[in-house]
Amino acid sequence: MLDFFTIFSKGGIVLWCFQGAGVTESFTGPVNALIRSVILQERSGNSSFSHGGLSLKYKLDNEFELIFVVGFQKILTLTYVDKFINDVQLRFRDRYKNELEQKGALKLLNNSFEFENDFKVLLSVAEESSKARGPAGMRTFEQSGKSQKTVKSMIETKGGDKGKEQGGKKNKNAKKEAPAAQPAKGDQDKASASGQKMVENGNQSLTAEEILQKNREEFFRKHRPGASEKPSKSPKPQKPKGKQNRVWNNGGSSTRDLDYSDKNGNGSPNGAEQNLEAQFDPEMQPASMKGDLLSVEYESSDEEEMEEEDEEVVIRETSKPSSKKGGGLFGMLKGLVGSKSLTREDMEPVLEKMKDHLIAKNVAADIASQLCDSVAKKLEGKVMGTFTTVASTVKQALQDSLVQILQPKRRVDILRDVMEAQSQRRPFVITFCGVNGVGKSTNLAKISFWLIENGFTVLIAACDTFRAGAVEQLRTHQRRLNSLHPPEKHGGRPVVQLYEKGYGKDAAGIAMEAIAYARNQAFDVVLVDTAGRMQDNAPLMTALAKLIAVNMPDLVLFVGEALVGNEAVDQLVKFNQALADHSMSDKPRLIDGIVLTKFDTIDDKVGAAISMTYITGQPIVFVGTGQTYNDLRSLNARAVVSALMKA
């Protein structure tokens, strides 16, 4: 019933494969798609993937660097697949341990792994087990868990547990204060479990007097600090450890974090210098943006700091007050020397910390957790070298995966593509979309300045027919750009022109006319500015999708600000969804690239870059770092990741 099963090394050599009976297509394509979209994009958290009609499940073996992939038809729901993969993995490892342990690839190449028989045995076992399980019979009442519980424990009062305690306490108090009312029930109170009568008591506790008593109790409870600490008191064994320091959520874990004098010394002089430089530019020197963009600048002198942080993490882990203090130290020492393979439990605390760290750096919450899951899957079972701690391994792996996410998955070279379009005698069309107020028009002006610097002619299409002043804004930009690059210097024709049709018209129509005009007048680039819209505004999203589907631009850029937090996920998902839903063709145009704006406003909380690239899988093409024409950069993945992992 399986379509195929492959075992291959992470270096790409297929060690063994099995193709189901009657399956003629090669499985290389789907498996490559699996590798590219799941493993390389760090989505390893969910272990199944569907490609066409096939559903693929996989398992990573990090100790021997192998990948096990099984593929079957999506419509079949095979329940034994997960366990089956595990069994196959264990059997393969046991059988070929010697060959796999070799570090070089030679053994892999020279051996032929005859795994057929074992595989067939395991497969038949798995299929048998899935057939053998009939529908489970219903349990009798005695077998169920319900009969084991006492009725008292099932009484739910408003305060939950406290309520139950309270109920107990209150009943006792009620007994004391209103003995006359219920002498019989008070006696029964002493017995802890007495079935029905307790239920009655519980029910009757809601009479008026008891309600008064209960409220009085609560009032006293709240205003007596001693009593309120009782239920929330930490368990007794911790008392002899002495006073525990109060842990503030935002205060960091050591007083080092609260000392901002160093940070200010390093950070702001650079920032101040940059600002001064920008101000000293007299009217944006015309030749300053030629060629490729600078990358975002960051201090990259943080390697020493990172090592210190690693040591601190190690020390902090050993000094955490826990009952297994001695064991923890020995485990740490054992981990330092000799090879230890990583397990989930080892990585849990470090991963939790890293997740919180990422979230503090403005990465969206569920993306941070997906990333940490993926890193855990990548590292599970891996053998650490000597003198490496769990924390440093996990940190390194996380850093590598972050750099991998930020690296573009295709070539990003706008100038070259514009030249290509130029040679084909058609304009290169770029469309900007995004929510309100992220900086579409400003960054459009910056990008047109950059393109003009590199000798191209630009037509700006004002398809924002809704916002007051949008067309005038673009006209002002056009005038300024033309004054910076006067037509006399560029062959007598103005380098920037604005195509507008006023307000209230259909944006898609204006865009189509603008592109036709550009083709006639031989403009090199058309920049289409659209109105900002919220992602859950259905009619506007439909209008945007129509604009893109009808005009088929060469590049659809989503403009997002770096200040956005968890919203980025929602925005991008909904934008992509709208573009996919409302396009008529079966290959819809989705977002091709991201422009990250307002990068100068975030200090080192650069997490939005990660969220956006992770969700779409598309590269960040431009980074906007200010409001003048020169503030346009390209993304430097290493710098951003080092800022992200810093302290």
Binding site: K10, L106, Q407
Partner: protein
Amino acid sequence: MAGSPFEPYIESLRQQLEEQDPVFLIGVIVALAVVVITFFLKYFLTSKTVRTSVLLVGLCDSGKTLLFSRLLSGKFKRTQTSITDSSAPYKAKNDRGSTWTLIDLPGHDSLRPQYLEKFKSAARAIVFVVDSAIFQKEVRDVAEFLYVLLTDAVITRNAPALVVACNKQDITMAKSAKLIQQQLEKELNTLRVTRSAALSSQDGSVGGSMYLGKKGKDFEFSQLPMKVEFVECSARGSKGEDGGDADMELLEKALAKL
């Protein structure tokens, strides 16, 4: 007997040493040890044996892993997209029988930069694998990768030999090595104009700060400081089992390499 003329000297030396302050003696010994250790480190770190790897690079799906397998074992193996590097010692088929390490790097765009970073300083030769069948569509990507390689500071400093292997010659539509060379030269010519315009007017540029070839003249591979060669090969061979073609040219190049 030969010891006796030396003995008084040794005695006097010993007496002198004993007269000295022990702390001073320890200081002298430590300084000597440091000097010796530094000498050893320098010798070992800069020895020529560091650069003994031949890197197999190229775009995704160009056939690097299959070439790797053919060179090492001559067998045809099915391959998938690599996500890590593979390395193995390779015995060259030349008279001297020198062995180096053959390293197969992943070609996927998101993994390329970090693996290149890791291995570029150890490279003594680079084999750049090109898919000749779909070369026309991928020209710009190939050229961009080649540009990044050639303008990298470490690589221009070490100037490892570059062999461009035009793979997949068994497919009928495959372009010849000569055509590929011409196309790449044209493309690199354009690229260096767009990329280097930024370098002359701004300081502190990103990435490679090299101008390829000579200014004012069209780019040609002969203008580079390293030896560049274009060879044709087919890792798969005509039927999937033979791959005789794969080894011939490359092996001869391997012979010529030092």
